[in-house]
């Protein structure tokens, strides 16, 4: 039962590491050699508008991979391709060693890819707890008849998953808003609930689309800590889009830089920082 193993760790986590600042975790000695997801030669266009052209990079198991670039560089499109929402016209995506066919997002979810959105995409009419429980839906098996009775196996199942959801609520420190309808929550908390929903699915690959957009410094620090903890404790691979460069450089193991739909740099934060093409993209043309 992975459920109980994971939960025991999570429950202990917030107290076990009081300094919690996180920055040292992304230390250079981390080594990743198992490729989880490989993107090669992906091109995507809508009508005449080219969103991505011939992009290739890989994401290794266990790393925090940042995707950066100026506005309109194709970062969100890239995430949409990874979780099956857009279908690239060219190129292949290999996930866990299998070349992926054209698929719908729910297949990607079933294979362990979860994500959060740039503009929060929570279920506004449902409570925090229910939102997080939706992350467990794929793991719940009881059929219509048991559900109708809400008794025996269906109820036991509900309780097992409720326990898991409660551990995530503990981990993200949102106990107090457990039963609040999320539409009424402030922005920062909504972002946190959205992360919780993605975590509830116990993903192997977690895609975060600007998890810290519009947050103040304190909220950003909290969110950074959560991301590092998730990566550390659950071993979740994370692909992250973020505009705040200092955070990207601190958090990520490797960075890929997109501009106008093309890849212009790929490497460790230090390599990327020194890359003239990146400096050009960010400073030269005056966007971003």
């Amino acid at each position: 039962m992975t459920v109980t193993e994971v939960s025991a760790e999570t429950a202990a986590q917030p107290n076990a590491e009081p300094e919690g600042d996180g920055a040292p975790t992304a230390a250079p000695e981390r080594v990743f050699d198992e490729v989880l997801l490989e993107i090669s030669g992906v091109s995507l266009s809508f009508g005449g508008v080219v969103a991505l052209s011939d992009v290739s990079f890989d994401i290794c198991k266990g790393e925090i991979r940042a995707i950066i670039g100026p506005n309109g560089a194709g970062k969100s499109s890239m995430l949409n391709v990874i979780n099956g929402f857009y279908h690239p016209q060219q190129g292949t995506i290999t996930y866990k060693g299998n070349v992926r066919k054209k698929m719908r997002p729910h297949r990607a979810a079933a294979e362990g890819i979860a994500r959060t959105f740039q503009n929060i995409a929570l279920f506004r009419g449902m409570s925090t707890l229910d939102n997080i429980m939706t992350g467990r839906l794929l793991k719940m098996r009881r059929g219509l008849l048991w559900q109708a009775l809400y008794w025996g196996p269906a109820r036991d199942e509900e309780i097992v998953h409720r326990e898991f959801a409660e551990h995530i609520i503990d981990f993200l420190e949102i106990e107090a808003i457990r039963k609040t309808v999320v539409g009424q929550l402030p922005y920062g908390l909504q972002k946190r609930v959205e992360l919780g929903r993605a975590l509830a699915a116990e993903p192997e690959l977690l895609l975060l689309d600007e998890p810290m957009a519009g947050m103040n410094v304190e909220e950003k620090e909290d969110m950074s800590r959560f991301i590092i903890d998730v990566n550390d404790e659950f071993g979740t691979t994370i692909a992250l889009i973020e505009h705040d460069m200092s955070i990207v450089m601190d958090l990520s193991d490797r960075v890929v830089v997109l501009d106008y739909g093309r890849k212009i740099a790929d490497g460790t934060p230090d390599q990327v920082r020194a890359n003239p093409a990146v400096i050009e993209a960010y400073l030269g043309v005056g966007h971003g």
Binding site: F46, F85, F117
Partner: protein, 314 residues
């Protein structure tokens, strides 16, 4: 043997009928076209509102009824035709103000389904109010359009029907000009494109909504006059107006030409189906044929004939 004769009845005999009696067939088609124009007029009002305010206006049918009832009611009070027409237009404008003030304004940012259901409520409100003020019995509407019948090449035509077709065409042309060449038309298209962006460049959203609901009311009045003069003004008008929905599925919800072509297809299609295939199954298939046609159509071209494919964003 029975199976063969069944195939014959369904797939051969109706077409043989059409070819052997071309004049009758032509009359059926013309009758269909004229009904289709009515559907188009109702669908047009619907498209206007949907484009400019994103509201799926179920009440368009009730507005047709209400406009026609108002006109008849005023005329019964002894108001001359022209003044009664102006009066009806004025009443529809007041209605548009009321809808914006008491309904739309409070429902900004609500889910589409909530707005849709609100217009169902509006339908009943308008209906109840109209019938309370003007009574619920069938009223004859005569605004002095001639209705002599005459023959062209053996086909029986009616002056009134031609007049209806003509005014439908004129109305569409006027609306097209209004949309493309006037300042307010441009603003309407901007609002349809993106509410927030339009507001940001200083287009007053509320004025736009009132305008578009007034125009839809005016279109409703024209549709109501046509229907009413043909079959009297009564409650059933608003049920017939429900057929605008399948028309829109065919034409695409945002397309003015779509509303017109869709209306014609539905009008002609259901007439032909009723006359040539209806007797096989006991008749009265006009009630549902349009909806079923739309449903089948959905399987093949969900965005409609003239609608655009939507790129979803996250």
């Amino acid at each position: 043997m029975e199976f063969i004769s069944f195939l014959n009845l369904v797939f051969v005999a109706p077409f043989v009928d059409m070819v052997s009696f071309p004049i009758f067939f032509a009359e059926v088609v013309i009758a269909g076209v004229l009904t289709g124009i009515m559907y188009s007029l109702v669908a047009l009002g619907f498209v206007l509102i949907f484009k400019a305010s994103g509201v799926f206006n179920f009440a368009q049918g009730a507005m047709v009824l209400f406009a026609a009832l108002t006109l008849v009611g005023l005329m019964e009070l002894g108001v001359p035709v022209l003044a009664a027409l102006l009066g009806a237009v004025a009443v529809m404008t007041v209605l548009a103000f009321a809808v914006e003030r008491f309904m739309l304004r409070h429902l900004i940012n609500q889910d589409d389904i909530i707005l849709f259901m609100a217009t169902i409520g509006l339908t009943f409100l308008i209906q109840g109010f109209g019938e309370m003020v003007w009574g619920s019995n069938v009223k004859a509407l005569d605004i002095g359009i001639p209705s002599e019948s005459f023959e062209v090449g053996g086909i029986l035509l009616n002056e009134f029907d031609l007049f209806a077709a003509g005014s439908g065409a004129v109305l569409v042309a006027v609306l097209a000009v209004f949309f493309h060449y006037t300042r307010i038309g441009r603003a309407l298209r901007a609002v349809a494109d993106d509410h927030q962006a339009a507001m940001a460049v200083g287009i007053p959203l509320k004025t736009i909504w009132v305008t578009v609901w007034s125009v839809a009311g005016f279109v409703g009045l024209v549709a109501g006059i046509m229907w009413g003069a043909k079959s009297g003004v009564q409650f059933s008008l608003s049920l017939i107006a429900l057929k605008a929905l399948p028309v829109l599925i065919l034409g695409g919800f945002t397309s003015v030409p779509g509303a017109i072509v869709g209306g014609l297809i539905i009008g002609v299609g259901e007439k032909i189906a009723e006359i040539y295939w209806g007797p096989l199954v006991g008749g009265a298939i006009e009630n549902w044929f349009a909806y079923m046609l739309a449903l089948v159509f959905l399987l093949f071209r969900p965005q409609g004939l003239f609608g655009e494919r939507i790129i979803e964003r996250v």
